[in-house]
Protein backbone atom coordinates (compact mmCIF):
# COMPACT_ATOMS: atom_id res chain seq x y z
CA UNK A 1 0.00 0.00 0.00
CA UNK A 2 2.78 2.30 0.97
CA UNK A 3 4.52 1.59 -2.31
CA UNK A 4 1.42 2.29 -4.33
CA UNK A 5 0.88 5.50 -2.45
CA UNK A 6 4.46 6.37 -3.02
CA UNK A 7 4.20 5.84 -6.72
CA UNK A 8 1.05 7.84 -6.89
CA UNK A 9 2.62 10.69 -4.99
CA UNK A 10 5.65 10.59 -7.23
CA UNK A 11 3.50 10.64 -10.31
CA UNK A 12 1.64 13.65 -8.99
CA UNK A 13 4.88 15.31 -8.00
CA UNK A 14 6.36 14.72 -11.43
CA UNK A 15 3.26 16.05 -13.10
CA UNK A 16 3.43 19.12 -10.89
CA UNK A 17 7.11 19.53 -11.62
CA UNK A 18 6.35 19.58 -15.32
CA UNK A 19 3.80 22.36 -15.07
CA UNK A 20 5.84 24.64 -12.80
CA UNK A 21 6.26 27.77 -14.89
CA UNK A 22 9.82 28.75 -15.73
CA UNK A 23 9.33 32.18 -14.20
CA UNK A 24 11.63 34.10 -11.95
CA UNK A 25 10.84 31.90 -8.97
CA UNK A 26 10.36 28.62 -10.76
CA UNK A 27 13.55 27.31 -9.25
CA UNK A 28 12.46 28.26 -5.76
CA UNK A 29 9.32 26.23 -5.53
CA UNK A 30 10.25 22.68 -4.99
CA UNK A 31 8.52 19.38 -5.21
CA UNK A 32 6.76 18.40 -2.04
CA UNK A 33 6.59 14.65 -1.70
CA UNK A 34 4.48 13.09 1.02
CA UNK A 35 5.67 9.67 2.02
CA UNK A 36 2.66 7.66 3.06
CA UNK A 37 0.31 9.06 5.64
CA UNK A 38 1.91 11.66 7.83
CA UNK A 39 1.61 11.28 11.57
CA UNK A 40 2.93 14.77 12.03
CA UNK A 41 0.84 17.13 14.09
CA UNK A 42 0.42 20.35 12.18
CA UNK A 43 -1.72 23.40 12.78
CA UNK A 44 -3.60 25.15 9.98
CA UNK A 45 -2.63 28.81 9.58
CA UNK A 46 -4.08 31.37 7.19
CA UNK A 47 -1.78 33.47 5.02
CA UNK A 48 -3.05 36.55 3.20
CA UNK A 49 -0.92 38.56 0.72
CA UNK A 50 0.46 41.79 2.18
CA UNK A 51 -1.18 45.06 1.31
CA UNK A 52 1.19 46.69 -1.14
CA UNK A 53 1.87 50.37 -1.86
CA UNK A 54 2.83 51.05 -5.49
CA UNK A 55 6.42 51.73 -6.50
CA UNK A 56 8.07 48.45 -5.56
CA UNK A 57 10.08 46.69 -8.25
CA UNK A 58 9.94 43.08 -7.05
CA UNK A 59 13.04 41.03 -7.63
CA UNK A 60 12.56 38.74 -4.65
CA UNK A 61 9.61 36.68 -3.54
CA UNK A 62 6.90 38.73 -1.86
CA UNK A 63 6.47 38.63 1.92
CA UNK A 64 3.51 36.23 1.99
CA UNK A 65 5.32 33.89 -0.40
CA UNK A 66 8.33 33.75 1.90
CA UNK A 67 6.08 33.13 4.91
CA UNK A 68 4.22 30.41 3.01
CA UNK A 69 7.45 28.65 2.25
CA UNK A 70 8.62 28.99 5.87
CA UNK A 71 5.29 27.60 7.10
CA UNK A 72 5.42 24.66 4.71
CA UNK A 73 9.03 23.88 5.60
CA UNK A 74 8.58 24.30 9.34
CA UNK A 75 6.78 21.03 9.89
CA UNK A 76 4.39 22.84 12.21
CA UNK A 77 1.74 24.34 9.93
CA UNK A 78 -0.62 23.59 7.10
CA UNK A 79 -1.01 26.72 5.02
CA UNK A 80 -4.50 27.95 4.25
CA UNK A 81 -3.88 30.44 1.47
CA UNK A 82 -6.39 33.13 0.75
CA UNK A 83 -6.22 36.20 -1.49
CA UNK A 84 -7.93 38.21 1.23
CA UNK A 85 -9.22 37.76 4.75
CA UNK A 86 -11.90 35.04 4.55
CA UNK A 87 -13.30 33.99 7.90
CA UNK A 88 -15.53 31.31 6.34
CA UNK A 89 -12.53 29.66 4.74
CA UNK A 90 -10.34 29.97 7.83
CA UNK A 91 -13.13 28.59 9.98
CA UNK A 92 -13.77 25.60 7.69
CA UNK A 93 -10.03 24.92 7.55
CA UNK A 94 -9.59 25.26 11.31
CA UNK A 95 -7.11 28.07 10.81
CA UNK A 96 -7.42 29.81 14.15
CA UNK A 97 -4.74 32.35 13.20
CA UNK A 98 -3.60 34.11 10.09
CA UNK A 99 -0.61 36.18 9.00
CA UNK A 100 -0.63 39.21 6.77
CA UNK A 101 0.87 42.70 6.63
CA UNK A 102 1.69 45.82 4.70
CA UNK A 103 4.69 46.70 2.58
CA UNK A 104 5.72 50.04 1.13
CA UNK A 105 8.81 51.53 -0.49
CA UNK A 106 10.84 54.02 1.56
CA UNK A 107 12.40 57.15 0.12
CA UNK A 108 15.88 55.60 0.30
CA UNK A 109 14.87 52.58 -1.78
CA UNK A 110 14.29 50.13 1.01
CA UNK A 111 11.12 48.35 2.02
CA UNK A 112 9.10 49.07 5.14
CA UNK A 113 7.30 45.87 6.04
CA UNK A 114 4.68 45.56 8.75
CA UNK A 115 3.97 41.96 9.68
CA UNK A 116 0.95 40.87 11.69
CA UNK A 117 -0.33 37.72 13.32
CA UNK A 118 -4.07 37.83 13.99
CA UNK A 119 -6.66 35.66 15.66
CA UNK A 120 -9.00 34.74 12.80
CA UNK A 121 -12.29 34.95 14.62
CA UNK A 122 -11.77 38.16 16.60
CA UNK A 123 -9.16 39.80 14.38
CA UNK A 124 -7.22 40.47 17.59
CA UNK A 125 -3.60 41.36 16.89
CA UNK A 126 -1.30 38.84 18.59
CA UNK A 127 1.97 40.02 17.16
CA UNK A 128 3.12 42.96 15.10
CA UNK A 129 6.64 43.69 13.82
CA UNK A 130 8.10 46.31 11.51
CA UNK A 131 11.20 45.73 9.44
CA UNK A 132 12.84 48.33 7.22
CA UNK A 133 15.27 46.53 4.97
CA UNK A 134 16.77 46.49 1.49
CA UNK A 135 14.82 44.08 -0.67
CA UNK A 136 17.63 41.55 -0.72
CA UNK A 137 17.36 41.26 3.07
CA UNK A 138 13.59 40.89 3.03
CA UNK A 139 13.81 37.11 3.15
CA UNK A 140 15.77 37.08 6.40
CA UNK A 141 13.45 39.69 7.93
CA UNK A 142 10.49 37.47 7.12
CA UNK A 143 12.31 34.47 8.62
CA UNK A 144 12.79 36.48 11.82
CA UNK A 145 9.08 37.35 11.92
CA UNK A 146 8.12 33.75 11.24
CA UNK A 147 10.24 32.52 14.17
CA UNK A 148 8.43 35.06 16.38
CA UNK A 149 5.12 33.63 15.19
CA UNK A 150 6.27 30.15 16.14
CA UNK A 151 7.32 31.36 19.55
CA UNK A 152 4.00 33.14 20.00
CA UNK A 153 1.91 30.12 19.04
CA UNK A 154 4.07 27.21 20.19
CA UNK A 155 6.24 28.67 22.94
CA UNK A 156 9.23 27.18 21.15
CA UNK A 157 12.02 28.44 18.99
CA UNK A 158 11.63 27.98 15.25
CA UNK A 159 14.38 27.32 12.72
CA UNK A 160 13.54 29.82 9.97
CA UNK A 161 16.60 31.89 10.93
CA UNK A 162 19.00 28.92 11.04
CA UNK A 163 21.50 27.92 8.38
CA UNK A 164 22.90 24.78 6.86
CA UNK A 165 26.54 24.09 6.03
CA UNK A 166 27.16 21.59 3.25
CA UNK A 167 29.62 20.53 0.61
CA UNK A 168 29.20 21.88 -2.91
CA UNK A 169 31.22 20.88 -5.94
CA UNK A 170 32.52 24.13 -7.40
CA UNK A 171 34.65 23.92 -10.56
CA UNK A 172 35.05 20.22 -9.90
CA UNK A 173 36.35 20.61 -6.34
CA UNK A 174 34.34 19.94 -3.19
CA UNK A 175 34.08 23.16 -1.18
CA UNK A 176 32.34 23.96 2.09
CA UNK A 177 29.46 26.43 1.73
CA UNK A 178 26.83 27.88 4.05
CA UNK A 179 23.26 28.81 3.13
CA UNK A 180 20.08 29.83 4.91
CA UNK A 181 17.99 26.81 5.89
CA UNK A 182 15.79 27.32 2.82
CA UNK A 183 18.79 27.17 0.47
CA UNK A 184 18.99 30.92 -0.21
CA UNK A 185 21.97 33.23 0.41
CA UNK A 186 24.64 30.64 -0.27
CA UNK A 187 28.17 31.73 0.54
CA UNK A 188 31.37 29.84 -0.14
CA UNK A 189 33.58 29.27 2.90
CA UNK A 190 36.58 27.33 1.55
CA UNK A 191 38.46 28.19 -1.64
CA UNK A 192 41.05 25.48 -1.97
CA UNK A 193 42.24 23.44 -4.91
CA UNK A 194 41.99 20.39 -2.65
CA UNK A 195 38.85 18.69 -1.34
CA UNK A 196 37.03 20.25 1.63
CA UNK A 197 34.34 18.22 3.37
CA UNK A 198 32.46 17.21 6.55
CA UNK A 199 31.57 20.69 7.83
CA UNK A 200 30.10 21.07 11.32
CA UNK A 201 29.25 24.26 13.24
CA UNK A 202 31.19 25.53 16.21
CA UNK A 203 29.15 26.75 19.16
CA UNK A 204 27.28 30.01 18.72
CA UNK A 205 27.49 29.47 14.93
CA UNK A 206 30.73 31.47 14.95
CA UNK A 207 32.43 29.24 12.43
CA UNK A 208 32.94 25.74 11.11
CA UNK A 209 35.17 22.75 11.58
CA UNK A 210 35.82 20.73 8.43
CA UNK A 211 38.24 18.38 6.70
CA UNK A 212 40.66 19.44 3.97
CA UNK A 213 43.18 17.44 1.93
CA UNK A 214 45.81 20.14 1.36
CA UNK A 215 48.44 18.00 3.09
CA UNK A 216 47.48 14.96 1.00
CA UNK A 217 45.57 13.46 3.89
CA UNK A 218 42.31 14.18 5.62
CA UNK A 219 42.93 16.75 8.34
CA UNK A 220 40.66 18.95 10.44
CA UNK A 221 40.64 22.73 10.18
CA UNK A 222 38.53 25.38 11.82
CA UNK A 223 37.56 28.78 10.54
CA UNK A 224 35.59 31.49 12.23
CA UNK A 225 33.57 33.38 9.63
CA UNK A 226 35.63 36.19 8.19
CA UNK A 227 38.79 34.92 9.91
CA UNK A 228 41.72 32.88 8.63
CA UNK A 229 41.66 29.11 8.72
CA UNK A 230 43.50 27.25 11.46
CA UNK A 231 44.71 23.64 11.34
CA UNK A 232 43.56 21.50 14.26
CA UNK A 233 45.35 18.79 16.22
CA UNK A 234 48.38 18.58 13.94
CA UNK A 235 49.95 16.04 16.28
CA UNK A 236 47.62 13.51 14.64
CA UNK A 237 48.12 12.02 11.22
CA UNK A 238 44.67 11.76 9.67
CA UNK A 239 41.72 13.42 11.39
CA UNK A 240 38.06 13.57 10.35
CA UNK A 241 34.44 13.06 11.54
CA UNK A 242 34.30 16.17 13.77
CA UNK A 243 31.56 16.55 16.42
CA UNK A 244 31.33 19.71 18.53
CA UNK A 245 30.29 19.23 22.17
CA UNK A 246 27.14 21.39 22.47
CA UNK A 247 27.90 22.26 26.11
CA UNK A 248 31.61 23.08 26.29
CA UNK A 249 32.69 23.25 22.64
CA UNK A 250 35.26 20.46 22.82
CA UNK A 251 35.80 18.52 19.63
CA UNK A 252 35.30 14.78 19.36
CA UNK A 253 36.83 13.34 16.18
CA UNK A 254 38.26 10.28 14.49
CA UNK A 255 41.92 9.77 13.80
CA UNK A 256 43.43 6.94 11.77
CA UNK A 257 46.96 5.80 12.47
CA UNK A 258 48.51 2.61 11.10
CA UNK A 259 45.15 1.40 9.92
CA UNK A 260 43.47 1.80 13.31
CA UNK A 261 40.80 4.44 13.77
CA UNK A 262 39.98 5.75 17.25
CA UNK A 263 37.98 8.54 18.76
CA UNK A 264 39.81 11.46 20.37
CA UNK A 265 38.58 14.47 22.26
CA UNK A 266 40.37 17.77 22.22
CA UNK A 267 40.27 21.45 22.98
CA UNK A 268 40.40 23.51 19.78
CA UNK A 269 41.96 26.50 21.54
CA UNK A 270 44.86 24.72 23.25
CA UNK A 271 45.26 21.95 20.67
CA UNK A 272 45.47 19.35 23.41
CA UNK A 273 43.67 16.07 22.79
CA UNK A 274 43.41 12.62 24.33
CA UNK A 275 42.01 9.27 23.35
CA UNK A 276 38.29 9.12 24.09
CA UNK A 277 37.80 5.38 24.35
CA UNK A 278 40.17 2.44 24.40
CA UNK A 279 38.46 -0.10 22.20
CA UNK A 280 39.79 -2.86 19.98
CA UNK A 281 37.45 -1.99 17.14
CA UNK A 282 37.66 0.96 14.78
CA UNK A 283 35.40 3.84 15.74
CA UNK A 284 34.15 6.74 13.68
CA UNK A 285 31.20 9.15 13.18
CA UNK A 286 30.83 10.37 16.77
CA UNK A 287 27.73 12.39 17.73
CA UNK A 288 26.82 14.04 21.04
CA UNK A 289 23.54 13.73 22.88
CA UNK A 290 21.74 17.08 23.30
CA UNK A 291 23.21 17.73 26.76
CA UNK A 292 26.56 16.10 25.94
CA UNK A 293 26.03 13.34 28.47
CA UNK A 294 26.41 10.48 25.98
CA UNK A 295 28.02 9.80 22.62
CA UNK A 296 26.85 7.85 19.59
CA UNK A 297 29.47 6.36 17.31
CA UNK A 298 30.02 3.66 14.71
CA UNK A 299 32.14 0.60 15.39
CA UNK A 300 33.17 -2.21 13.05
CA UNK A 301 33.55 -4.73 15.86
CA UNK A 302 30.92 -6.94 14.22
CA UNK A 303 32.61 -6.78 10.81
CA UNK A 304 30.46 -4.11 9.18
CA UNK A 305 29.54 -0.75 10.67
CA UNK A 306 26.97 -0.67 13.49
CA UNK A 307 25.89 2.12 15.81
CA UNK A 308 26.80 2.11 19.49
CA UNK A 309 26.26 4.49 22.39
CA UNK A 310 28.31 5.13 25.51
CA UNK A 311 28.60 7.61 28.33
CA UNK A 312 30.85 10.64 27.83
CA UNK A 313 33.39 9.00 30.16
CA UNK A 314 33.45 5.89 27.98
CA UNK A 315 31.26 3.88 30.34
CA UNK A 316 28.13 1.85 29.69
CA UNK A 317 28.80 0.80 26.09
CA UNK A 318 25.70 -0.51 24.32
CA UNK A 319 24.94 -1.51 20.76
CA UNK A 320 21.99 0.34 19.23
CA UNK A 321 21.45 -1.12 15.75
CA UNK A 322 21.01 -4.81 15.00
CA UNK A 323 18.93 -4.83 11.81
CA UNK A 324 20.94 -5.03 8.60
CA UNK A 325 24.68 -5.11 8.06
CA UNK A 326 25.48 -1.46 7.46
CA UNK A 327 24.24 1.19 9.87
CA UNK A 328 26.32 4.34 10.08
CA UNK A 329 26.61 7.99 10.99
CA UNK A 330 23.99 8.38 13.64
CA UNK A 331 22.91 11.79 14.89
CA UNK A 332 20.99 12.43 18.05
CA UNK A 333 17.60 14.13 17.90
CA UNK A 334 17.60 17.47 19.77
CA UNK A 335 14.55 16.18 21.62
CA UNK A 336 16.79 13.43 22.93
CA UNK A 337 14.69 10.33 22.42
CA UNK A 338 15.64 9.16 18.92
CA UNK A 339 18.52 8.89 16.50
CA UNK A 340 18.65 9.29 12.72
CA UNK A 341 21.14 7.26 10.74
CA UNK A 342 22.00 5.93 7.31
CA UNK A 343 21.59 2.29 6.48
CA UNK A 344 22.75 0.49 3.36
CA UNK A 345 20.79 -2.36 1.85
CA UNK A 346 21.56 -3.85 -1.56
CA UNK A 347 24.01 -1.03 -2.20
CA UNK A 348 21.34 1.64 -1.65
CA UNK A 349 21.52 4.10 1.22
CA UNK A 350 18.42 5.14 3.11
CA UNK A 351 17.62 7.15 6.20
CA UNK A 352 16.06 5.64 9.30
CA UNK A 353 15.25 6.73 12.81
CA UNK A 354 14.97 4.53 15.88
CA UNK A 355 14.75 4.79 19.65
CA UNK A 356 17.94 4.75 21.72
CA UNK A 357 17.49 1.05 22.51
CA UNK A 358 17.26 0.25 18.80
CA UNK A 359 13.52 -0.36 18.85
CA UNK A 360 10.79 1.37 16.85
CA UNK A 361 12.73 1.57 13.58
CA UNK A 362 11.15 3.89 11.00
CA UNK A 363 12.40 4.05 7.42
CA UNK A 364 12.11 7.64 6.23
CA UNK A 365 13.30 7.38 2.62
CA UNK A 366 12.51 4.69 0.12
CA UNK A 367 12.74 3.99 -3.62
CA UNK A 368 14.38 7.32 -4.44
CA UNK A 369 18.08 6.87 -5.17
CA UNK A 370 20.55 7.14 -2.32
CA UNK A 371 19.59 9.12 0.77
CA UNK A 372 22.22 9.85 3.35
CA UNK A 373 23.82 12.18 5.87
CA UNK A 374 20.73 13.08 7.94
CA UNK A 375 21.07 16.15 10.17
CA UNK A 376 18.41 17.35 12.61
CA UNK A 377 17.05 20.87 12.70
CA UNK A 378 17.82 22.36 16.13
CA UNK A 379 14.12 22.17 17.07
CA UNK A 380 14.05 18.47 16.23
CA UNK A 381 11.11 18.80 13.84
CA UNK A 382 13.00 18.38 10.57
CA UNK A 383 15.81 16.39 9.01
CA UNK A 384 18.00 17.65 6.17
CA UNK A 385 19.80 15.08 4.04
CA UNK A 386 21.53 14.54 0.71
CA UNK A 387 19.92 12.48 -2.04
CA UNK A 388 20.69 11.69 -5.67
CA UNK A 389 17.04 10.92 -6.45
CA UNK A 390 17.06 13.60 -9.15
CA UNK A 391 20.21 12.22 -10.79
CA UNK A 392 22.67 14.48 -9.01
CA UNK A 393 23.20 14.84 -5.28
CA UNK A 394 21.15 17.67 -3.79
CA UNK A 395 20.08 18.76 -0.32
CA UNK A 396 16.53 18.06 0.85
CA UNK A 397 14.53 18.81 3.98
CA UNK A 398 11.81 16.54 5.32
CA UNK A 399 9.77 16.32 8.48
CA UNK A 400 11.09 13.88 11.03
CA UNK A 401 8.49 11.33 9.95
CA UNK A 402 9.74 11.41 6.35
CA UNK A 403 6.89 13.49 4.97
CA UNK A 404 6.96 16.76 3.05
CA UNK A 405 10.30 16.24 1.28
CA UNK A 406 11.48 19.57 -0.14
CA UNK A 407 14.55 20.17 -2.22
CA UNK A 408 16.55 23.26 -1.23
CA UNK A 409 19.54 23.17 -3.63
CA UNK A 410 19.17 23.23 -7.38
CA UNK A 411 22.38 23.15 -9.36
CA UNK A 412 25.67 21.30 -9.28
CA UNK A 413 26.31 18.61 -6.71
CA UNK A 414 25.59 19.17 -3.02
CA UNK A 415 26.17 16.76 -0.15
CA UNK A 416 26.84 16.39 3.58
CA UNK A 417 24.45 18.96 5.12
CA UNK A 418 24.89 19.94 8.76
CA UNK A 419 22.29 22.11 10.41
CA UNK A 420 23.48 25.06 12.51
CA UNK A 421 22.52 25.63 16.13
CA UNK A 422 19.81 28.15 16.91
CA UNK A 423 20.79 31.73 16.10
CA UNK A 424 20.75 33.61 19.35
CA UNK A 425 20.65 37.07 17.78
CA UNK A 426 17.33 36.21 16.15
CA UNK A 427 16.02 34.63 19.29
CA UNK A 428 12.52 35.80 20.18
CA UNK A 429 13.65 36.27 23.79
CA UNK A 430 12.50 33.00 25.35
CA UNK A 431 12.33 32.96 29.10
CA UNK A 432 15.16 31.23 30.91
CA UNK A 433 14.54 27.54 31.27
CA UNK A 434 11.98 27.37 28.49
CA UNK A 435 12.80 24.96 25.73
Amino acid sequence: MRKVLNRFVWAVALALACVVPQGAFASIDTIAVDVGISVFKTTPIGIVPFEEKPGIDWIEEKPHQILTRDANLSGRFDVVASEKFNLALFSRSKAKHYMTGKVEPTSDGRLAVDCYLYVSQSKDLLLGERYTVPQKELRRAMHAFFDKVIYQLWGERGVASTRIAYVSKIDGVKQVVVADYDGFHRSQITRDSTISMMPVWTRGNKGLVYVNFKTNRPRLYTKNFGRPEKPLFEQFDQTYSPAVNPVNGELLFSSSKDGKTDLYIGNMETGKARKFAYLKSNQTSPAWSPYATEVLFTSDRGGGPQIFVMGKDGSDLRRVTFMGRYNERASWSPEGDRIAYTSMDNGKMNIYTCALDGSDIVQLTNNAGNNEHPTWSPDGKLIAFASNRSGTYQIYIMRKDGSNVTRITQAGENTAPTWSWFYDDNKPQPKEGSK
Binding site: Y240, S254, D258, D300, M349
Partner: protein, 194 residues
Protein backbone atom coordinates in the same frame (compact mmCIF):
# COMPACT_ATOMS: atom_id res chain seq x y z
CA UNK B 1 98.28 24.74 -17.64
CA UNK B 2 95.61 24.38 -15.07
CA UNK B 3 93.11 24.19 -17.91
CA UNK B 4 95.01 21.49 -19.61
CA UNK B 5 95.09 19.32 -16.53
CA UNK B 6 91.41 19.82 -16.17
CA UNK B 7 90.79 18.83 -19.75
CA UNK B 8 92.95 15.79 -19.31
CA UNK B 9 91.02 14.79 -16.24
CA UNK B 10 87.71 15.32 -17.90
CA UNK B 11 88.64 13.42 -21.00
CA UNK B 12 90.06 10.66 -18.88
CA UNK B 13 86.79 10.44 -17.10
CA UNK B 14 85.04 10.50 -20.44
CA UNK B 15 87.07 7.54 -21.59
CA UNK B 16 86.31 5.64 -18.45
CA UNK B 17 82.67 6.41 -18.90
CA UNK B 18 82.83 5.27 -22.51
CA UNK B 19 84.50 2.08 -21.46
CA UNK B 20 81.97 1.58 -18.77
CA UNK B 21 79.15 2.21 -21.18
CA UNK B 22 80.59 -0.04 -23.79
CA UNK B 23 81.06 -2.75 -21.21
CA UNK B 24 77.60 -2.40 -19.93
CA UNK B 25 75.94 -2.51 -23.29
CA UNK B 26 78.15 -5.24 -24.71
CA UNK B 27 79.60 -7.39 -22.01
CA UNK B 28 81.47 -9.49 -24.65
CA UNK B 29 82.93 -6.41 -26.24
CA UNK B 30 85.60 -6.88 -28.88
CA UNK B 31 89.12 -5.83 -27.97
CA UNK B 32 89.23 -3.36 -30.88
CA UNK B 33 86.76 -1.09 -29.23
CA UNK B 34 88.80 -0.92 -26.07
CA UNK B 35 92.08 -0.26 -27.83
CA UNK B 36 90.39 2.43 -29.88
CA UNK B 37 89.22 4.24 -26.78
CA UNK B 38 92.61 3.79 -25.18
CA UNK B 39 94.23 5.37 -28.22
CA UNK B 40 91.76 8.17 -28.10
CA UNK B 41 92.59 8.69 -24.46
CA UNK B 42 96.31 9.03 -25.04
CA UNK B 43 95.65 11.30 -27.95
CA UNK B 44 93.35 13.59 -26.03
CA UNK B 45 95.81 13.85 -23.21
CA UNK B 46 98.31 15.46 -25.55
CA UNK B 47 98.88 19.13 -24.80
CA UNK B 48 98.82 19.87 -28.53
CA UNK B 49 95.02 19.63 -28.47
CA UNK B 50 93.31 22.85 -29.52
CA UNK B 51 90.77 24.72 -27.46
CA UNK B 52 88.09 23.83 -29.99
CA UNK B 53 88.84 20.17 -29.58
CA UNK B 54 88.73 20.51 -25.82
CA UNK B 55 85.39 22.25 -26.03
CA UNK B 56 83.88 19.61 -28.21
CA UNK B 57 85.18 16.96 -25.87
CA UNK B 58 83.69 18.68 -22.87
CA UNK B 59 80.43 19.02 -24.73
CA UNK B 60 80.58 15.38 -25.64
CA UNK B 61 81.17 14.58 -21.99
CA UNK B 62 78.24 16.68 -20.90
CA UNK B 63 76.10 14.94 -23.48
CA UNK B 64 77.18 11.55 -22.22
CA UNK B 65 76.51 12.53 -18.63
CA UNK B 66 73.13 13.78 -19.57
CA UNK B 67 72.40 10.62 -21.47
CA UNK B 68 73.46 8.48 -18.59
CA UNK B 69 71.36 10.50 -16.16
CA UNK B 70 68.48 10.36 -18.58
CA UNK B 71 68.84 6.61 -18.89
CA UNK B 72 68.91 6.26 -15.11
CA UNK B 73 66.01 8.61 -14.76
CA UNK B 74 64.03 6.70 -17.37
CA UNK B 75 64.83 3.45 -15.62
CA UNK B 76 63.66 4.83 -12.26
CA UNK B 77 60.64 6.37 -13.87
CA UNK B 78 59.72 3.07 -15.44
CA UNK B 79 60.08 1.43 -12.05
CA UNK B 80 58.04 4.14 -10.36
CA UNK B 81 55.38 3.88 -13.03
CA UNK B 82 55.38 0.15 -12.60
CA UNK B 83 54.88 0.50 -8.86
CA UNK B 84 52.28 3.24 -9.26
CA UNK B 85 50.33 1.12 -11.74
CA UNK B 86 50.22 -1.83 -9.38
CA UNK B 87 46.81 -1.17 -7.86
CA UNK B 88 45.71 -3.72 -5.34
CA UNK B 89 42.00 -4.51 -5.35
CA UNK B 90 39.68 -5.49 -2.52
CA UNK B 91 36.26 -7.03 -2.06
CA UNK B 92 33.34 -4.92 -0.88
CA UNK B 93 33.70 -3.70 2.72
CA UNK B 94 36.76 -5.97 3.13
CA UNK B 95 40.39 -5.17 3.73
CA UNK B 96 41.90 -8.65 3.39
CA UNK B 97 44.45 -9.11 0.61
CA UNK B 98 43.41 -11.46 -2.15
CA UNK B 99 45.90 -14.00 -3.59
CA UNK B 100 46.22 -11.84 -6.69
CA UNK B 101 46.90 -8.79 -4.55
CA UNK B 102 49.66 -10.66 -2.71
CA UNK B 103 51.34 -11.62 -6.00
CA UNK B 104 51.32 -8.01 -7.12
CA UNK B 105 52.60 -6.80 -3.78
CA UNK B 106 55.45 -9.32 -3.89
CA UNK B 107 56.58 -7.70 -7.16
CA UNK B 108 56.38 -4.26 -5.61
CA UNK B 109 58.30 -5.58 -2.62
CA UNK B 110 61.09 -6.84 -4.92
CA UNK B 111 61.37 -3.47 -6.59
CA UNK B 112 61.53 -1.70 -3.25
CA UNK B 113 64.22 -4.05 -2.00
CA UNK B 114 66.32 -3.27 -5.08
CA UNK B 115 65.76 0.46 -5.04
CA UNK B 116 66.57 1.43 -1.50
CA UNK B 117 66.14 5.12 -2.28
CA UNK B 118 62.43 4.70 -2.92
CA UNK B 119 59.97 5.61 -0.23
CA UNK B 120 56.26 5.05 -0.79
CA UNK B 121 52.91 6.40 0.28
CA UNK B 122 50.21 3.76 0.27
CA UNK B 123 46.77 5.23 -0.46
CA UNK B 124 43.68 3.29 0.58
CA UNK B 125 40.44 3.87 -1.35
CA UNK B 126 36.86 2.65 -1.30
CA UNK B 127 34.01 2.59 -3.79
CA UNK B 128 31.29 5.23 -3.76
CA UNK B 129 28.86 3.26 -1.61
CA UNK B 130 28.58 3.99 2.07
CA UNK B 131 29.28 7.03 4.17
CA UNK B 132 32.29 9.31 3.89
CA UNK B 133 33.23 8.67 7.51
CA UNK B 134 33.19 4.90 7.48
CA UNK B 135 34.94 4.83 4.12
CA UNK B 136 37.88 6.77 5.59
CA UNK B 137 38.14 4.05 8.21
CA UNK B 138 37.90 1.32 5.58
CA UNK B 139 40.49 2.98 3.33
CA UNK B 140 42.86 3.24 6.30
CA UNK B 141 42.44 -0.48 7.01
CA UNK B 142 43.18 -1.36 3.37
CA UNK B 143 46.30 0.79 3.20
CA UNK B 144 47.48 -0.79 6.44
CA UNK B 145 47.05 -4.35 5.14
CA UNK B 146 49.28 -3.44 2.21
CA UNK B 147 51.84 -1.83 4.50
CA UNK B 148 51.89 -4.87 6.76
CA UNK B 149 52.46 -7.18 3.80
CA UNK B 150 55.37 -5.11 2.52
CA UNK B 151 56.85 -4.86 6.01
CA UNK B 152 56.75 -8.64 6.23
CA UNK B 153 58.49 -8.68 2.85
CA UNK B 154 61.38 -6.79 4.37
CA UNK B 155 60.63 -3.17 3.59
CA UNK B 156 61.44 -0.88 6.52
CA UNK B 157 58.43 0.82 8.02
CA UNK B 158 60.31 4.12 7.83
CA UNK B 159 60.09 3.93 4.05
CA UNK B 160 56.31 3.58 4.00
CA UNK B 161 53.42 5.74 5.05
CA UNK B 162 49.77 4.91 4.68
CA UNK B 163 46.90 7.32 4.13
CA UNK B 164 43.19 6.92 3.52
CA UNK B 165 41.32 8.79 0.80
CA UNK B 166 38.01 7.10 1.60
CA UNK B 167 35.71 7.43 -1.38
CA UNK B 168 37.06 10.87 -2.32
CA UNK B 169 39.44 9.89 -5.15
CA UNK B 170 37.74 7.34 -7.38
CA UNK B 171 39.66 5.95 -10.35
CA UNK B 172 36.53 5.07 -12.31
CA UNK B 173 33.31 7.07 -12.43
CA UNK B 174 29.83 5.64 -12.40
CA UNK B 175 27.56 3.49 -10.29
CA UNK B 176 28.33 0.12 -11.80
CA UNK B 177 29.95 -2.86 -10.14
CA UNK B 178 32.76 -2.48 -12.68
CA UNK B 179 33.48 1.06 -11.50
CA UNK B 180 33.08 0.05 -7.87
CA UNK B 181 35.57 -2.81 -8.21
CA UNK B 182 38.11 -0.47 -9.83
CA UNK B 183 37.76 1.95 -6.94
CA UNK B 184 38.12 -0.51 -4.06
CA UNK B 185 41.87 -0.33 -4.16
CA UNK B 186 45.16 0.63 -2.65
CA UNK B 187 47.73 2.37 -4.82
CA UNK B 188 51.18 3.85 -4.42
CA UNK B 189 52.90 7.17 -4.67
CA UNK B 190 56.68 6.90 -4.95
CA UNK B 191 59.24 9.39 -3.71
CA UNK B 192 62.99 9.21 -4.08
CA UNK B 193 64.92 9.78 -0.88
CA UNK B 194 67.53 12.50 -1.44
Amino acid sequence: MKNLVKIALISGAACLALVACAKKQQPQTDPAAESATAAEASQSAEPAMTQAQADSLAAEQARLDAERLEAERARLEALINQIMSEDVYFDFDRSELTEKAKELLAQVGELLLKEQRFTITIEGHTDARGTEDYNFTLGAKRAMKVKEFLAAYGIENSRMESVSYGKEAPKAQGETEEAYSQNRRANFRVNIKQ
